[in-house]
C-alpha cells in the first residue's frame, strides 16, 4: 500500500516538469480556428477552403512559423449549417480560446456568428461573399471575397455594352443568393436596367425548366443566375433545352471549373465576373497578382490533385491577411486587429487588399475581371 502511494507520488513529481514544458510549448503556438462547410451542400466552398488553409499552415510551420511562433489550425466542419457554425464559434472562442477565426464559408453562417465574434473580441475573417458581412462595419469582422455590388456593377457594364436593358433574374434561396438578388434589384434602376421578373429557387433544385419557361414567356434579353449551388449548371442546361437564346450571366459563384464540366456544351458563352485566379496563366508577367496566383495554383494542384478554385483562394486571402497582421503586430489580438485594418497594397488571390476603418473588405471593383467560357475553359471576356 505504502509502496503504491510512494510510487504514485514519484510518478506525479516526475511528470510535473513535463506538464510545465507542455504549457510552455503551447505559449509558442498561435491557435487559429476555422469554420468551413467541408461537407454538405456548400462543400464545394468549404472543402477547398479547408484544404487551402491546412496547406498554408503546414507550409508556414515548415518554414519556421510566423515571428518564430508555430500556427495550430483547428478546422471545424459546419456542413453549411448556421446552427452548427454558432456552436463551433462559441466553442472556438470560449474553450479553445483561439486567436482568430477564418471562415465560415457561407454568408448565412457568417451573419449568425458575427455578433458572437464581436462579443468575444475575436477577429473573424469570413470567406463568404455577401456585402452585409462588412456593411455596416463591425470592429472584429473582415471578409476576403469581393463584394456582391462590384460583381453586379461589372455585369451591368457588360449588359450596357451589349445593349441589354430588360432582364430576368433567378437566384437560390440561401444567403448568397438572397444577398445577390438584393444588390441586383438595388443597382439596376440607376444603370437603366429593367428587371422583368425575379424568381427564387430552392438551393437543392434539380430541374428549373418550369421557372425558366416563365422567364422565356417574358421575352427577357438576358438571364442572370445568382447562386453558388450546383443549380448553376442546371440553369445553363435547362436554358439550352428550352431553346432560350438570351445570354446567361452568372455570379462570381460560377468560378469553379467543375460547374463548367457539369454543364458541358451548355456552359459555352456564360458571362460572369470573377477574380483572376482562373485566368492566371494569361495574365501579363508584370501583373501584381501573377506570381502569387501561379504559386497558389501550382501548390494546390500538385498537393491535392484537383483544380484550384477561387473559393479556396478566399481562404488563402483570409490566412494571408491574418498572417500579415500578426507579422506586423505580434500576438496581441487588439494590435493585430488594428494592423489588419491598416493593411495596404497586399496582393491576394482575389485582388489587391487596401483595408481601412471604413472598409473591412479592402477590395475595389478592379478585383473583378469579366470572364466567359470558351471550349470548356475560362477565358477573359472581350
Amino acid at each position: 500500500m505504502l509502496l503504491k502511494k510512494l510510487f504514485a507520488t514519484v510518478l506525479c513529481v516526475s511528470l510535473l516538469p513535463l506538464a510545465f514544458s507542455c504549457k510552455k510549448q503551447s505559449g509558442e503556438t498561435i491557435k487559429i480556428g476555422a469554420i468551413f462547410a467541408v461537407t454538405g451542400p456548400a462543400s464545394f466552398l468549404g472543402a477547398p477552403e479547408a484544404k487551402t488553409a491546412q496547406m498554408m499552415v503546414d507550409e508556414i510551420n515548415n518554414s519556421g512559423g510566423v515571428n518564430g511562433k508555430h500556427l495550430k489550425l483547428i478546422i471545424k466542419d459546419s456542413a453549411g449549417n448556421p446552427e452548427k457554425a454558432i456552436s463551433f464559434a462559441k466553442q472556438l472562442i470560449e474553450e479553445e480560446k483561439v486567436f482568430a477565426i477564418i471562415g465560415p464559408s457561407t454568408s448565412g453562417e457568417t451573419m449568425k456568428i458575427k455578433t458572437i465574434c464581436e462579443d468575444g473580441k475575436t477577429i473573424l475573417i469570413s470567406c463568404a461573399a455577401a456585402e452585409v458581412i462588412v456593411n455596416p462595419v463591425a470592429r472584429y469582422v473582415f471578409k476576403s471575397p469581393q463584394k456582391d455590388s462590384h460583381a453586379v456593377q461589372k455585369i451591368f457594364e457588360v449588359m450596357k455594352k451589349k445593349g441589354i436593358t430588360r432582364i430576368g433574374i433567378v437566384s437560390s434561396n440561401d444567403g448568397f443568393g438572397i444577398a445577390g438578388k438584393e444588390q441586383l434589384e438595388k443597382i439596376a434602376p440607376a444603370q437603366g436596367i429593367q428587371i422583368l421578373i425575379s424568381e427564387v429557387y430552392d438551393k437543392k433544385a434539380t430541374d428549373l425548366t418550369g421557372v425558366l419557361t416563365k422567364l422565356k414567356a417574358k421575352n427577357v434579353q438576358a438571364v442572370v443566375n445568382w447562386s453558388i449551388v450546383p443549380a448553376q449548371s442546371i440553369v445553363a442546361k435547362n436554358m439550352k433545352q428550352l431553346n432560350i437564346n438570351a445570354p446567361l450571366f452568372q455570379s462570381h459563384g460560377f468560378g469553379n471549373i467543375k460547374y463548367v464540366k457539369e454543364a458541358g456544351e451548355a456552359a459555352e458563352g456564360i458571362i460572369f465576373p470573377c477574380g483572376r485566379l482562373l485566368i492566371a496563366e494569361s495574365l501579363p508577367a508584370n501583373h501584381p497578382q501573377k506570381s502569387l496566383l501561379m504559386k497558389y495554383k501550382k501548390d494546390y494542384e500538385s498537393k491535392y490533385g484537383e483544380d484550384a478554385s477561387t473559393f479556396g483562394g478566399h481562404a488563402y486571402d483570409a490566412m494571408l491577411v491574418l498572417i500579415e497582421g500578426i507579422k506586423k503586430a505580434g500576438s496581441d489580438k487588439e494590435k493585430v486587429r488594428d494592423a489588419i485594418e491598416n493593411l495596404k497594397g497586399v496582393a491576394g488571390t482575389a485582388g489587391i487588399f487596401n483595408f481601412s476603418p471604413q472598409d473591412h473588405n479592402g477590395l475595389d471593383i478592379n478585383a473583378f475581371d469579366v470572364l466567359t467560357v470558351k471550349g470548356g475553359k475560362f477565358v477573359k471576356y472581350e
Binding site: F44, Y201, D207, G210, T213, K237, N243, G264, E265
Partner: protein, 296 residues
Amino acid sequence: MSFEHLLQYVLSGITNGSIYAIVAIGFNIIYNTTGIINFAQGEFVMLGGMTAISLAAFMPLPLAILAAVVITSFAGALIDFLFIRRLKSPSVLNMIIVTVGLSIMIREIALHIWDEKVRSLPYFTGNEIASINLLGAYISPQVLWVLGVCSVIVVFLGLFFKFTLTGKSMRACASNMTAARLCGINTRNMVTISFMLSAAIGALAGCVISPITQTQYDCGTSLAIKGFTVAILGGLGNSTGAIIGGVIIGLLEAFSISVMPLAYKDAIAIAILLVILFVKPSGLLGAREAAELKEF
C-alpha cells in the same frame, strides 16, 4: 398563356414527375414485401448514380450502368443481411427506424468513398444542349429515357409480381408474414430479394436521372422525400399509381410556378396532396381493404 408555353409547363411537369415516380417505385417494392417504408431508398438512387459515374471512366456507359445496378443490388442484400435479418422480432416501426439510420450511414460512407463534389453521367443520347421540339415546346431527350425506363420497370414489376413464383411469394409475405411462413415460403429470403430488387431499381433510377439532376453524396434525401410523397399519393405498393402520382405532383408544381412565385411550388403541391388524401386516404390507386391489413 400561349399554347407553346402551356405545353412547355406540361413538359416541365412531366420531367419532374417522372423523376419522382421512378424513385417512388423503389419504395413500393420493399413495402409490398415487408410492409415497411425503406427510408434509405434515396441512398440507393445516389449509390447507383455515383457507382455508374465512377465506372463510366473505365468502361462503356451501358456496361457501367449495368455494373452499378448489380453492385447496388448487392449493397441492398448486404444491408438486409447485416441489419434487417439480425432483428430478433422485427416490428414495422423497428425496421423503419433501422432504415433511417442506414440512410445516414450510407450517406457518410459515400462521402468518404467519393467526396463532396457534384458529378453526372453523360446524356444517353445527344448532349447538354440537345432538345427535341414538340409543337413549339422543348424537351430534353434524357426525359424520354427517364419515362421509357419508368414504363419498362412498371411493366416488368407488374409481370413479376403477378406471374412468377418469387413475385407471388413476395406478395404473400406482405399480406401475412406468419401465414406465408406456414405455407413454406422462406420469408427472410423474400425480404432479401425485395431489398435487392428495390436497390437495383433505385440504382437504375439514379443512372437515368443523373444527367438531369446531377449526383452528389447527399442528393438521395430530397429525392426520397418527393418519391415518398408520390408513393403515398399513388397508393403505397402500386407502381402504376406511382407514375400517375408522380406526373400529378409534377404538373401541379409546374402550374403553380406559372401563376405564383417559384418558392410556393412545394407548398401548393403538398396542400393539394393533403386534400386528395382527405378524400381518399389510401392514395389514388391504393385499395382500402389492403391498406387496413397493414400496420403502416
